[in-house]
């Protein structure tokens, strides 16, 4: 059990330092979602950016694939206590979308809207980070359907439910608006290094 919590005996000291409190390391990529895996038709798929922006966006999959791209090598942490080290995600850096949308000065928060009504929320300063992507690729391959194909938000400094699968839009707001899990007791801030799992502690 202690080995599991510390990340197992095979980890180097450097790796162990990368495991947040209460997490264990897995080499698997567990699948955790509610409901069904949505079926997506890329011919009709679109992505919207709206709310407190001067330039609302709607782009198709073809247009998305023409955006600049970025690779991020980092660790990911799930609220269910698994951590996966040294992952490689690739996609469009969020700053490209923010620049295109031209956020208004009162935009402070974002809600990610996904298939099946799933939402999650973030402060803008958490979203606007160097390692945040609209990710379509994991380990050099397109995301698998159960991991969010065709597109997921990727916010590795927060527990992974904030990296919303099957994302279809970003809504920028002046006020915070709780997402799906956040409404029902998950932490709003979700920082794995502070072990912010649930809002009631």
């Amino acid at each position: 059990m202690i080995d599991r919590l510390l990340g197992g005996a095979k980890l180097s000291d450097e790796q162990k330092r990368r495991v947040p409190p209460g997490q264990y390391v897995t080499e698997k990529f567990p699948v955790l979602h509610y409901g069904s895996v949505p079926r997506t038709d890329l011919a009709t798929w679109d992505f919207r950016v709206y709310g407190e922006v001067d330039n609302p966006l709607r782009f198709t999959w073809q247009e998305f694939k023409a955006f600049p791209r970025k690779q991020v090598h980092t660790d990911i942490h799930c609220v269910t206590r698994w951590t996966k080290l040294d992952t490689d995600f690739e996609g469009v850096p969020i700053q490209h979308v923010l620049d295109l949308a031209r956020l208004r000065s009162d935009a402070r928060f974002v809600v990610a809207h996904c298939e099946q009504g799933y939402t999650t929320n973030l402060p803008l300063d958490v979203l606007d980070d160097d390692d945040v992507l609209l990710a379509d690729t994991f380990a050099g391959q397109p995301l698998e359907p159960e991991h969010g194909w065709p597109l997921r938000l990727f916010v590795p400094k927060r527990y992974f439910w904030k990296s919303a699968k099957w994302v279809r839009g970003l809504e920028f707001l002046a006020h915070d608006q709780l997402g799906f899990w956040e409404r029902y007791g998950y932490s709003n801030s979700a920082d794995p290094w502070k072990e912010e799992r649930y809002s009631d502690g």
Binding site: V31, L32, H33, Y34, G35, S36, V37, R39, Q116, G117, Y118, F180, W181, R183, Y184, G185, Y186
Partner: protein, 92 residues
């Protein structure tokens, strides 16, 4: 303003009795949905904005396409949403 009277009290008691039963969270959630729909239809309880949101979220959590299994988080979502519904029931 929350609903009052015998029908409202009965509906709340019955919804909470379903929540308190032993059983799989997904199945209990479906029973709660059915009982609440009945209470709303009869006017015993009012569908407050919070309950409307919670029931929409529950629908999403329990949505199952043909040929698929429910995701592993459906049961947890059901438990969390039922707890929130319990807390909001007195306002309905």
């Amino acid at each position: 303003m929350s609903s009052t009277g015998e029908a409202a009290d009965t509906a709340r008691v019955e919804v909470r009795a379903i929540m308190a039963r032993k059983g799989h969270a997904v199945e209990l959630a479906r029973q709660v949905e059915d009982r609440l729909d009945e209470a709303f239809a009869s006017g015993a309880l009012v569908r407050t904005p919070f309950l409307a949101q919670a029931l929409d979220d529950l629908d999403a959590a329990l949505d199952l396409e043909a040929g698929q299994k429910l995701g592993g988080k459906s049961a947890e979502a059901s438990r969390f949403i039922l707890r929130a519904i319990d807390g909001a029931l007195d306002e309905a």
